[in-house]
């Protein structure tokens, strides 16, 4: 079973000096925080804020690469969580065939946002996550931590 998730925003995690991409489901009942590096967060935030950079950023280039031969990103699925690392798959449609490509969630999400493709998460990942450190994180979260990226 998979659940569609929406990219709600980015937060800075000062304890790990990293960023957290916050995914939530439609009902806002489940949340999936994904820790990413600074440049990965930048690639996602630029897309969330609808900023058009003067030169194509890496994921814009990635999209052009797929567009060149009409390959389409159908969806992105966060498939697994193992030892604090999330795994994801990008599903492509190209000439009536579907291809599944392994990717880091940060790349997958940055590309999905640029391709208007839906992001899903395996329910097992959502469950797993909720049993990990998430609870203590949520306790410490303040609304202002979300900054202007929270929509």
């Amino acid at each position: 079973m998979i659940t569609q998730m929406h990219v709600k925003g980015l937060m800075f995690d000062p304890y790990n000096n990293a960023y957290i991409v916050v995914l939530r489901d439609e009902e806002q009942s489940d949340m999936l925080p994904i820790w990413v590096g600074k440049s990965e967060a930048g690639a996602i935030s630029i897309s969330l804020e609808n900023v058009t950079p003067p030169r194509p950023m890496t994921h814009d280039f990635m999209k052009s690469f797929l567009d060149a031969y009409n390959a389409k990103v159908i969806s992105v699925v966060i498939t697994d969580l193992a030892e604090h690392t999330y795994f994801s798959k990008i599903h492509l449609m190209y000439e009536d065939s579907e291809y599944t490509v392994d990717a880091r969630p940060s790349d997958a999400i940055a590309l999905a946002l640029r391709s208007n493709a839906p992001v899903f998460a395996n329910n097992s990942v959502i469950t797993k996550q909720s049993s990990e450190e998430l609870e203590q994180w949520l306790e410490n979260l303040k609304p202002e931590d979300f900054g202007k990226l929270d929509s």
Binding site: R55, T58, F61, M62, Y69, Y99, A103, R104
Partner: protein, 165 residues
Amino acid sequence: MSAVDLSKEQDLVEYRVDRILEEANTDTRIVVLARKDGVLDTFPIWVGAAEGNAIKLALDTMITPRPMSHDLIKSFAEHLNITIQRVVIADVKSSTYYAIVHIANKGVERTIDARPSDAISLALRAPCPIYITQDVLNRRSTTNLDAWLAKLESKDIGAPEVQET
């Protein structure tokens, strides 16, 4: 060389990535390209830290536990049978270099506009040759070179081998 009888291919000079220089207190890296044929000429390109690191990983043939962004692009190419043919640093405007990535699939060629950092990062992974057009080589500004030298000297990295074409 006379410009008149140069074919399109002869207008391209092949370079390789020689090294990546770090600028300690900035978020900047310098990608130093050197001529593939051994003629003494280096071509510096300033890139961001993340972009420089992506190139360094490929230059050092580091295998990361998870695919980095340009590994993913290469993976797309492999899945879709797209050949990454070459990258060309083809233009310079206001001190910004413009690259073109040439790809092919079933005999159909396409070109993609890219930042040189993405183009080089992908070229090292493909792998495919990196070219600079003679036009860009002719037009590279000496102010760039001067700035580069000044920075290098200030950090006492040692005398770089730089000569103009």
